[in-house]
């Protein structure tokens, strides 16, 4: 077994990416993901073929990603909320050209310049498209420094497998906190990418990386084909963790830092005789609809705990199909709910005294 090392979440992503075979990083400074870029700046020049480039803007960075992704190599960029907004144009083109790439968003409070404290208020942007056109990203949400590393490797694998961009949606807490982490020691297997532009070598017809289809029939066909692939992703790659859900009467749904807070609240509720459980989505696209639907058959209320004004709650409500009430327990603007706040919400749902 590999040795455990103490690392910051942002650094764990960077090291895990390098070990996943990502030798190209493009970024632009923004808090609270700075350590990731700094780590890459230090490491990449020491690795054969490693490239770190501080781009002139987030827009340029994501388009550099598009360039490397076109050649079939693993590539990533990272930023925080306002910077990720700037990247949306490029992300739409990457999705439209069916290119694999990793985008990391270490979220901070918004809208606008917002703040620099942790937030989950880019949920809509991450899961509903973000840029223009019909597309999705595979969105993974780590809840520990270990998962920052594990999900980074997984994100590259899934992006390659389904030819689509993946996003690691973390938050300022995950980025900044330190925990022991075990990093993979063997390089992953890379799949062939015959579609990549690498030069024809005069041996094949030219490859074209493109998202332009001026004939509407063709554009529609591309969209339908892409969504067939998305169906496969939904069927095969939906990930979540359940905690004490078997006999739960109150279901808490939370991801990332909110899930860790919620777990403490569930433990406290169980101590006090309330049958509470937790569903922690690990992918928020695809969203664990079936797990929520199942919870709606045996729970009397579902509580969405979020660091936002209530975004994931819409997916929960859709999945629960109005069978049970879905309520929100939240903080926003860089604030984090306390275990007590979540426990109070559970107690209220259970019909206990407030």
């Amino acid at each position: 077994m590999a040795e455990k090392v103490l690392m910051k979440g942002n650094e764990a992503i960077a090291e895990a990416a390098i070990r996943a075979g990502c030798l190209h990083y493009f970024g632009y400074p923004i808090t609270p993901q700075t350590e990731l870029a700094a780590y890459m700046a230090k490491r990449m020049p020491k690795i054969e073929g490693g490239v770190f480039l501080q781009a002139e803007s987030e827009i340029a960075a994501i388009n550099m990603v598009y360039g490397v992704a076109s050649t079939g190599k693993r590539v990533m960029t990272s930023s925080s909320s306002p910077g990720v907004s700037l990247k949306q144009e490029g992300i739409s083109y990457i999705a439209g050209a069916d290119l694999p790439a990793l985008i990391v968003n270490v979220q901070r409070g918004g809208p606008g310049l917002g703040g620099i404290q942790p937030s989950q208020s880019d949920y809509f942007q991450a899961t509903k498209g973000g840029g223009h056109g019909d597309y999705h990203l595979i969105v993974l949400t780590p809840a520990s420094v270990q998962e920052m590393a594990d999900l980074t490797g997984l994100a590259f694998d899934l992006a390659d497998k389904y030819r689509m961009p993946a996003m690691l949606l973390a938050d300022g807490t995950m980025g900044q906190m330190m925990e022991p982490v075990e990093l993979p020691e063997t390089a992953p297997e890379m799949i062939e990418k015959p579609w990549a532009v690498t030069g024809t070598q005069m041996k094949r017809k030219h490859n074209i990386i493109n998202s332009l289809y001026l004939v509407p029939d063709e554009l529609e066909k591309m969209n339908f084909e892409r969504y067939e692939r998305y169906k496969q992703v939904e069927a095969n790659e939906t990930r979540y963790e359940e905690y004490m859900m078997d006999d739960a009467e109150i279901c808490v749904v939370a991801f990332g830092i909110a899930a860790r807070v919620s777990r403490n609240a569930v433990v406290e509720a169980r101590k006090q005789g309330i049958k509470a459980g937790l569903i922690r989505p690990i992918t928020i696209w695809p969203f664990p609809k079936d797990a929520i639907a199942k919870a709606a058959t045996h729970c009397k209320e579902i509580i969405s705990v979020e660091l936002s004004m209530g975004q994931m709650i819409e997916d929960i409500a859709l999945s629960a199909e109005c069978k049970v009430p879905v309520t929100l327990c939240n903080r926003a603007g860089g604030m984090i709910p306390s275990p007590d706040q979540v426990f109070d919400a559970i107690k209220k749902a259970a019909g206990g005294n407030e």
Partner: protein, 250 residues
């Protein structure tokens, strides 16, 4: 029978969609000819812009990538950093390169990215139907400057070669035109050199090609070529603006 003239191998057989009298066809040919002559087609990757040349990916027989509006130099940077042994070029218009993509242009130049940029300046947005470009001349009538470009409100045209040549980064900056045989010959030389520089690892080379747009200028192809001589070239003087290797060789 001896062949005295043929289509460059680096061009596909796809018929060009450009308007009658447009000079994009000539510039495509000059680029393909340079690629042929240097024998680099198999390792060349081109980046097409957003604008009239958006479908350039169908016309060049090397690998091609279609970039978002103005982002070609950033995409080319990614391509080159990933595949340093390959030859990467972008083909961009004035709106693409000098307006929405100005940051990408300036910064790829200042980094001296070892790429080749073909910048087609026809002083107008062609594909969207003739709007004012960053290079539209003072007084020039366009769809969005119907009373002529008023420099007090719309500002002055941008001279890209002059601007970029103030940077320490770039290797080679030259402005050429394609409105007569003599100018086309010079353009051919400049474009080839811009590719040769990259093959030799010298760095960022940008060739601005003063071009015509008879459709959106509202002129016959002939008049449009004359307008280049009478109006465009006086504002955009032809010549070498920067050639670091030549300077070092002095």
């Amino acid at each position: 029978m001896a062949i005295v003239f043929e289509k460059p191998k680096s061009l596909t057989d796809a018929p060009l969609h450009y308007c009658p009298g447009c000079t994009h066809g000539i510039i495509h040919r000059l680029v393909a000819q340079a690629i042929d002559e240097l024998g680099i087609e198999g390792r060349t990757i081109g980046v097409a812009p957003v604008g009239c040349a958006v479908m350039a990916y169908n016309y060049f027989s090397c690998d091609m990538v279609e970039a978002a509006h103005g982002r070609a130099p950033a995409v080319a940077t990614g391509l080159k950093r990933s595949l340093p042994e390959n030859i990467i070029f972008t083909y961009q218009g004035d709106g693409d390169l000098a307006s929405i993509g100005m940051a990408e242009t300036v910064h790829s130049a200042t980094r001296n990215e070892n790429i080749t940029i073909i910048f087609v300046n026809n002083a107008i947005y062609g594909m969207t139907g003739g709007q004012m470009a960053p290079t539209s001349l003072p007084g020039q009538v366009t769809q969005t400057s119907p009373y002529g470009r008023d420099v007090t409100t719309a500002g002055f045209p941008i001279r890209i070669c002059e601007l970029l040549s103030t940077l320490d980064g770039p290797e080679y900056i030259e402005r050429v035109a394609v409105n007569n045989v003599k100018n086309i010959k010079q353009a051919q030389k400049a474009i080839k050199k811009a590719f040769e520089n990259q093959v030799n690892g010298k760095g960022f080379s940008l060739i601005e090609v003063v071009s015509s747009c008879p459709t959106n200028w509202g002129m016959t192809p002939d008049d449009a070529l004359r307008w280049i001589d009478e109006k465009m070239i006086p504002y955009y003087p032809l010549g070498v603006y920067k050639d670091r290797s030549a300077k070092e060789g002095e």
